[in-house]
């Protein structure tokens, strides 16, 4: 009886076994990279805003402190987005007729808020508190990057849980002196780990990895 399968069937079988594994691996890798990539996380993506607000201009060129607009960052969970009135405190005088700022003026006239697109959007079951991080010596730029150099705002970190937990496990790698929190150009010193450990002790920073630290 003639063989049903030709010799080449052997290689075909081998190739398909290996191929299936590779394909499955490839699919997983693709799924992973989509999940972690900027398509999904929006890292590095400047989302559309009603006004193309430039942090670079306001922070670097004008030298405005973070807290001028983000007023509640030291006291509340929410850092605060400036009211239209805050924008108008300057823009009633400067660029008072610029077309780009029309949505701001419209908001001020009509009393209707500007709806900004959220860049840093945590899932609803995550309860993040700005004030405690700032008070414990975590700088703005640690999470938000060099926002002072961004003409349009985008996020630089995924805000995935493993990213959060990295610091919650080893805060000494990221903590800085309290007076440097709002310094956007702060560079960690070469002996960050030693200095960090000292700051961790001084600020009584705990390694909080209990689930209910963030999930309630």
């Amino acid at each position: 009886m003639a063989q049903i399968f030709p010799r080449s069937a052997n290689s075909l079988a081998k190739v398909s076994v290996v191929g299936t594994v590779l394909l499955a691996g490839g699919l997983l890798a693709t799924a992973y990279s989509i999940d972690r990539g900027h398509f999904n996380t929006n890292v590095g993506v400047a989302l559309d805003q009603p006004v193309p607000f430039s942090h670079k201009h306001h922070v670097s060129d004008d030298g405005i402190d973070c807290r001028y607009c983000h007023t509640s960052v030291e006291v509340s969970a929410f850092a605060g987005i400036p009211a239209t009135e805050t924008c108008m405190s300057c823009h009633a005088q400067i660029w008072a007729n610029a077309e780009l700022l029309e949505p701001v003026r419209a908001s001020f006239r009509s009393g209707r808020s500007i709806a900004w697109t959220r860049i840093h959007d945590l899932p609803d079951y995550v309860y993040f508190n700005h004030s405690i991080h700032v008070n414990k010596g975590i700088g703005c730029s640690t999470c938000h990057g060099r926002i002072d150099l961004m003409p349009l705002t985008f996020k630089v970190n995924t805000l995935n849980m493993n990213w959060c937990v990295e610091c919650h496990r080893e805060p000494e790698k990221y903590v800085r002196p309290r007076d440097q929190v709002f310094n956007m150009a702060y560079q960690p010193p070469p002996d960050q780990r030693d200095r960090g450990l000292k700051l961790v002790a001084e600020y009584k920073i705990q390694r909080l990895t209990d689930c209910q630290t963030c999930h309630r």
Binding site: V75, A83, E85, S113, W116, R118, D121, D210, Q212, R216
Partner: protein
Amino acid sequence: MSSLVQISKKLDLDAIRRRLDSSSAPAFWNSLEQVAGTDDFRQYVEDEFPERAMDWADPAKRRTFLKLMGASLALAGLTACTKQPPEAIVPYVRQPEEFVPGKPLYYATAMPAPGGANGILVESHLGRPTKIEGNPNHPGSLGAADARTLASLLDLYDPDRSQSVMRNGAFSSWVNFTAELSPVRDAHFERAGAGLRLLTKPILSPTLGRQMQQVLAALPQAKWHQWDPVRRPTSFNTIHHFESAEVIVSLDSDFLACGPGNNRHAHEFANKRRLIEGRSGTMNRLYVAEGTVTITGGMADHRLRMKAAEVAGFAAELARVVGANAPDAGLPANDSTRRMAGLIGKDLQSHRGTSLVIAGEYQPASVHALAHAINQALGNVGKTVDYSAPLEFQAGDTVDSLRQLVADMNSGQVETLIVVGCNPVYDGPADFGFLDAYKKVKLRIHLGVYNDETGAISNWHLPEAHYLESWSDTRAYDGTVTIQQPLIEPLYGGRTAHELLELLLTKAERSARDVVQEYWRGQPGTSDFNAFWQHALHDGVVPNTALPAGTAPSFSSAATTAAAPGPGAIEIMFRPDPAIWDGTFSNNAWLQEMSKPQNKMTWDNAIWISPATASRLGLTSEDEVELTYRGRRARGPIWITPGHADDAVTVHLGFGRVNAGHNGNGVGFNVYGLRTSDALWQGPGVELRKTGGKHGFATTQYTYTMEGRDPVKLMTLAEYTSKPEVEREAPPREMTLYPEYKYDGYKWGMAIDLNSCVGCQACTMACQSENNIPVVGKDQVSRGRHMNWLHVDRYYHGKLDDPELFFQPRPCMHCETAPCELVCPVGATVHSGDGLNQMVYNRCVGTRYCSNNCPYKVRRFNFYLYSDWYTKSLYGLRNPDVTVRSRGVMEKCTYCVQRIAEAKIESEKEDRKIRDGEVVTACAQACPTQAIVFGDLNDPNSKVALLKKQPRDYGLLEDLNTRPRTTYQARVRNPNPEIDRGA
């Protein structure tokens, strides 16, 4: 549905009675079925969530099942693959000065209630009120809030609330209404108000009272009528001081749960019972004579079970014993009552000036006269009892007032009737025939929060602003005024009574705020008005507005001797429902699903009857019967209630609504149809006829039972004085396979003093509101799936006919060696560094192993999407600090971890430890008796640590070595030794 285990209610009551009389009786029992030990009851209890798969009506074939499962497994992973939808941040245009984004603000206001308002603080997130708390400055609250007050928040967001002006059932507007009112008003003004009538509830608001005065002055021919189905008319106000009462006799008064000042009364009552170190051996003593079963009766050291009509006889006997000058009233007391009255009278006489006799809100004037006479004879007036002018503006007899109105409507004298905030078509006395009379009125105008039975047949229905949307003022039980401020603009364009009266008076559209301010500008002590106003709003009370104590009024000895019922005549008692009151809260799903303290029933009312009477009439629970009372009929189901007076039934008001809303319509049966003006509260001669029908109840008393263990520890004061230690069964610490945790930071724990807990359910409602707990509906409750994280268990102790009642709140125990944690395959329930047993919703896959392994049965599972994700108006209700759970996850008490986290963050910013009392769980905060105390066990001086050091402290099921963080302090009773000996 078909396969759901139905617990048979065909019980052999005689066998149960014999069992409870025997030596093998269980010490604590929570249902008759448990004592009987029927097979179906065992089956029900053994299955933790009875009948898991019964929701599929048709039996799924194995193949279909596999197909379904295959598809859902394949899709299960993909559901996580949605990209996060973009969200907007919407800042203010002009940010208010005092506002910090992300932090709630608290405003003081008050919830008006018949007999005195409850002072509250309302938590507001970005302008949305999300939680009601008691106002510590308010004399009627002292920081606590009762269940109805807490649940009233849900009404604000209720989508069934009246949303539009209606003209003869069609949508209209305020503009149309004012246009149409204007000529009618002018016509009435030309005739000095002839033909115009107003009907309101008794007016607690000084401003509204003044407005009414102005209306009546401008329109002398107009008449004002008042009606409230549950407020007892009084010509003076009685204020009771439980803080100085050693011996209390309640004549059918449920002073801990309802009636004026209940929070204050519970607070003071519990303070006099608290056994703390250095104060042992002193405790007040409570005697309660009552017909129905109340939580006040549950707290009694001696409870005298008698018909409501017999209370008068008992009171008269008591008056005779203490030598009070008292009219003869009611049924003569029988021998045993006479003997008890003698002993109680003796106890009262040895506590002259430190005793207190309080008559029930639902007892006739003669019993009140007796109570006043006894208090006077005992020298209690000025010490434990004070009298003042009535709370209400021109308080009068509401029944006569409504009767007059109905008569005038029938004789055609009423052309225009404005009904403000009442619903007499539903809750008026049956003999008045309000509905027919009302139809004869030419122009019927109704202002109400709901478009209810009265609104539905009015020419104009106007939406009334909810009290959280209104400017007004209102008095507490002692007269103290709170200026009510709105938390939010009216959601549905509602207006207040002030605005309506102003429209009538001046045709001007003035805001209620202006009207209230104008009134207060004219009051003494407001020369610096702005400062006065700011202070009054901030504190939630207007200083020095409590009504001054006056001399005792003379009591008319209007001893209307109750008609003596013949032997075997059955008495009917009408009482407001423990949850939904007189129908005001019929559409409130939180209250509808709150298990009533006495019988743990939800979503229903029933005819309560004693076991002996049920046996005699051949009735059992769930039997539908027809009640015939004075020729009027109603149908309702029976519930056998141990402790109820024999030859009497209790029915509860507020059910059987037709225009309440989606939640309230058709729930229970309406008993207003039996209630006549001469027997508003009780009367003899009701007949019960079995119809053969059955009605299924959803009661939670079967679920999560403790299966014969004794969860409540009990001792008498004498036993406590000689040996205060309770027996504890905790095995040695090392007898465990669990890892030893170290708690070097905080160590959270809770102590619940069963001696203070009165079972009022305020904690349950506070928890529901704070933690976004959904309601599940009657069908799901009957399957044991109600979601309340905190349950108040009710236990009976003793004989079938007259058992004692015990209450035990049961939150998560937060075991140090928690059985739930080890069995979770996905680590969704884990131990925290401070000993919290954490529940992580986003990890939970719904195996329910944890719940299966929890010996306390405190875990709740979302079998369906119980949280309403789709009703827009409910979005505002939710606490933003707590996740709204989805289908398929387990949840349970977290010790209000969001409050712990907030306090922890605030303390660390100030570089200090959390102070004792800084973290208060929602349940502890609401508790009127401070039975629940929460705090850090690592702080040896914290209140909770001190409580746990008491010898009365014990844990539930300690023999399992779970080391529960929630522990209880044993209940101590203070019986009269003379009575105990004689019994």
